[in-house]
């Protein structure tokens, strides 16, 4: 126990003095190690979305940043680079496992070359590895996390874009609004949709609302219940909701889920929905026309 503590203390103390040596070694062997890395990447079938030249130039940059991070112990530059790199490669379809695989490959290559270089002096090798391993792990984690964060940011942005785009409220004629719903419906969006629907009823004084879900691919129980509640809430506000464009798949799902659809007025397509809406309004429209004449 005491001996172990002693070792790690010594290792911690030697970190500072050994890192410059390590960095110097990695700088010296830059060309060889870098090429080895590129070979391993190609052999493993990673980064197939990029050309060899691109891989080589990115690899050089990552290698230099990697060594710099080892030298300074600060991962900020590397982090910024990793983010920037992720931004460039994500649109080209590079996956998380590829990025992690590449960083771990570099770690392995460097570790192995250290083994080879210091194999005559096991004591020194141990201390070098003690200094190298935590730093290398930290770098691997930094790069992986940067990539995932960047990816999540892209996904979030796209979700926001979809959310903004996909639920316009269209006033078709007096007291009739149409809400075409496109894309994924999750419970958050369904809730937002309900608010939008009721807001539209309130502000447009709508009497009939047509919800067109032609652009919705699938639906789950939570979302289906949200829809039922949205229709009920619309009715409570004195408006009729008509749902159109239920695909056969969604219809099947709704039946399988046992959603109570009795309250829902459904029509096959948007055209039929608008006709139904006009029928509902037309009866009132005629009455209004009569009022005007008298």
């Amino acid at each position: 126990m005491t001996a172990e503590t002693g070792t790690s203390e010594r290792a911690a103390a030697s970190d500072e003095s050994l890192l410059p040596e390590l960095v110097a070694y990695l700088r010296e062997n830059r060309t060889g190690l870098r090429e080895q890395w590129v070979e391993r990447i190609t052999a493993a079938g990673l980064l197939t979305a990029m050309t060899p030249d691109e891989i080589f130039s990115e690899v050089t940059a990552v290698y230099d940043n990697y060594v710099a991070a080892l030298e300074t112990g600060s991962v900020e530059t590397l982090q910024a680079y990793a983010r920037d790199l992720s931004e460039r490669i994500i649109p080209r379809g590079v996956d998380t496992d590829e990025v992690l695989g590449i960083v771990l490959l570099l770690r392995d290559i460097l570790a192995r070359s250290l083994f080879v270089h210091y194999q005559d002096n096991p004591e020194l090798l141990h201390r070098i590895l003690d200094a190298y391993e935590p730093a290398a792990n930290r770098i691997a984690v930094t790069v992986g996390v940067s990539f995932v964060e960047e990816r999540e940011r892209v996904i979030r942005e796209q979700q926001d874009a979809i959310r903004e785009l996909s639920t316009p409220v269209l006033q078709v004629r007096d007291r009739l609004v149409v809400l075409p719903i496109i894309g994924m419906l999750d419970s958050q969006r369904a809730r937002q949709l309900t608010e939008q629907l009721l807001g539209a009823i309130q502000s447009n004084r709508a009497r009939v609302v047509v919800l067109d879900i032609t652009g919705v691919a699938t639906i789950d129980l939570t979302v289906a219940n949200h829809l039922v509640q949205a229709v009920e809430a619309a009715r409570l506000m004195g408006a009729s909701a008509i749902i159109t464009g239920i695909s056969s798949k969604i219809a099947q799902t709704l039946v399988d889920l046992g959603v109570d659809l009795e309250q829902m007025r459904t029509v096959g397509d948007l055209q039929g929905g608008l006709e139904e809406a006009e029928r509902l309004l037309g009866y009132r429209g005629e009455a209004a026309a009569t009022d005007q004449r008298t």
Partner: protein, 123 residues
């Protein structure tokens, strides 16, 4: 009393001005059912536009109000349900089907006017 009850033609308009206690809600229900029968009215309009909150008890009472007045020969229309209230009410998991609704008083009167016209035509 925080409910103003007005008579307009064959309809009774009950405008709820502020939150009611449970007892007041029940009293209103009985009062309306009683008057409807006594004056042979056609409709009751309950205006809830002043209410920011409708709890499940009030929602259930509105529903039973609709049923009792129907049994006494009149239609009940609830008007002015606010968006947030509508969402909450839809979540109660009550069967609110007997509750007929309209957007506001204006619309309710138009709806009832049409019905009277139709009845007149039929006669």
């Amino acid at each position: 009393m925080s409910v103003a009850i007005l008579r307009q033609g064959d309809a009774l308009i009950a405008a709820i001005q502020s939150d009611l206690t449970d007892a007041q809600v029940l009293a209103l229900r009985d009062d309306l059912a009683e008057r409807v029968g006594r004056h042979r009215l056609q409709a009751v309009i309950v205006d809830v536009s002043a209410l920011d909150v409708i709890d499940s008890f009030v929602a259930r009472s509105l529903r039973s109000m609709a049923i009792t007045t129907r049994l006494r020969g009149a239609e009940t229309l609830v008007v002015g349900i606010q968006p947030d209230v509508a969402i909450a009410m839809a979540h109660f998991d009550l069967n609110l089907k007997p509750l007929r609704t309209a957007k506001d008083l204006d619309e309710a009167l138009v709806l009832l006017g049409e019905r009277v016209e139709e009845d007149g035509d039929a006669e």
